[in-house]
């Protein structure tokens, strides 16, 4: 990882020095342990602030809409790169397609899981090989990194951002999991009643802060359906029905567009399980239309196209 970070800084420095890009969006250390923060670098010297570790949890593709007028280089993981490909298919980059600085991802550490594993406030967390050293005021433990991965990372099948213009790190052999999305399988084994209850219980905590929407690179609509007043699709208060409505539609709007990065779930301050919803939709489009988001750069998004031979057994 230290090697990756070093190369990342060198590359960024070079890109900015040669003025190949105006801006590089990457990750930097900041004030909290187990976290990084997005950083916007405009000068070669700024590259020194870049970091790479298992806490680089944001999907930086979400920022590309904000900087559409600039030539942007963006640090991407396997999943983030897929988001960029999907955005490109939706013609989001009419001026300058972003330059992808791909990093082979070692998969990310779930800070919420780590916090639950210790008692007391974590003040420092460092990675050493496969271990995660976590320190607080009165404790110091070392944890096995792989036991604390995000659910979306556990089921990751595309760690290497092959689509990137610059690839940092050695491509890894992708695992093909027996069950691609264990969370989805686990949920499907429940009865319809249990499933709805679980969904409603999770969404009942929702504050409608829309962090899940804003953290997602694919949620870029000028006016989100929740904000529309004519027609008014949905009320703005916290009734269980409206909360469910929001979460059904937010997830469903990702059909064939979600890279499974998990940024929505990580952004949620109320720890609402969200990725199993979009992962299910990913599974559906793969099963029905053989489509995986952001893998083939030319394949049309599944809901914007059709095949006369599509399955239709469900239609009377």
């Amino acid at each position: 990882m230290a090697m990756i970070q070093k190369k990342l800084r060198e590359k960024t420095k070079e890109l900015l020095a040669k003025k190949e890009v105006d801006l590089v969006i990457g990750f930097s250390d900041w004030t909290l342990p187990l976290r990084t923060t997005p950083i916007f670098i405009r000068t070669p010297e700024g590259a020194e602030h870049l970091v790479w570790n298992s806490f680089c949890e944001n999907n930086l593709a979400a920022y590309l809409h904000k900087f559409s007028r600039l030539k942007v280089g963006v640090v991407v993981k396997g999943c983030d790169a897929r988001s960029v490909v999907a955005l490109n298919l939706e013609k989001r980059f009419p001026n300058h397609p972003p330059l992808l600085i791909g990093v082979v991802c070692q998969r990310l550490v779930d800070r919420k899981k780590v916090k639950k594993a210790v008692k007391g406030e974590i003040l420092q967390a460092v990675e050493q090989g496969d271990l995660l050293l976590v320190k607080g005021e009165n404790f110091e433990v070392s944890l096995k990194r792989d036991d604390f991965l995000y659910p979306s990372c556990q089921s990751c099948t595309h760690r290497t951002p092959h689509q990137a213009h610059i690839l940092i790190g050695d491509p890894v052999e992708e695992v093909s999991l027996v069950e691609t999305h264990p969370e989805v399988g686990e949920f499907e084994r429940k009865s319809p009643e249990e499933r709805w209850d679980f969904f409603e219980k999770e969404t009942s905590r929702c504050l409608r802060c829309y962090a899940c929407r804003e953290a997602c690179p694919m949620c870029y609509c000028g006016e989100c359906f929740v904000d529309s007043s004519r027609p008014k699709w949905i009320e703005k208060s916290l009734s269980p029905s409206d909360l469910a409505f929001y979460h059904i539609v937010r997830a469903y709007h990702q059909t064939g567009r979600c890279s499974g990065c998990g940024a929505c779930e990580r952004a949620c301050p109320m720890d609402i399980r969200l990725t199993y919803l979009t992962q299910k939709l990913n599974q559906e489009v793969k099963d029905l239309y053989g489509f995986e988001t952001g893998i083939q750069p030319e394949a049309a998004p599944p809901l914007s196209t059709f095949d006369p031979e599509d399955q239709q057994g469900f239609i009377k």
Partner: protein, 140 residues
Amino acid sequence: MEKDWQPKILAFLCNWCSYAGADLAGTSRVQYSPNIRVIRVPCSGRINPLFILKALQSGVDGVLVSGCHPGDCHYLSGNYAGRRKSATLKRFLEFLGIEQGRVQFSWVSAAEGGKFSQVVDEVTRDIKRLGPLKKFKKSS
């Protein structure tokens, strides 16, 4: 469940085929369940999943979407595009725990008055069996 309960079913019918099919059923005096309320839409491809969700939230017990048979679309491919939305939405709603059968789809041409009545009867029977929709419905 109330004894005299009758389901409310919202039917989105495409203007060119299914709506004409419903018309034909009427003029041919074919009987079908009176539980459906029809909204005519230009094409089954026009159905925004939000329509279906909004309907379920607002108090209907089931939704039927019906359009032209594949290859017959007035707009050439609207029903093909609609079919993908339908397939993914249907699976997704069932995944969430909305009972199978609450949201149904059919192809009914302008000549199929008989099929229309049959579809409506089947959908009504399915939804009667499921009972009133409780999940997701907005209580007021």
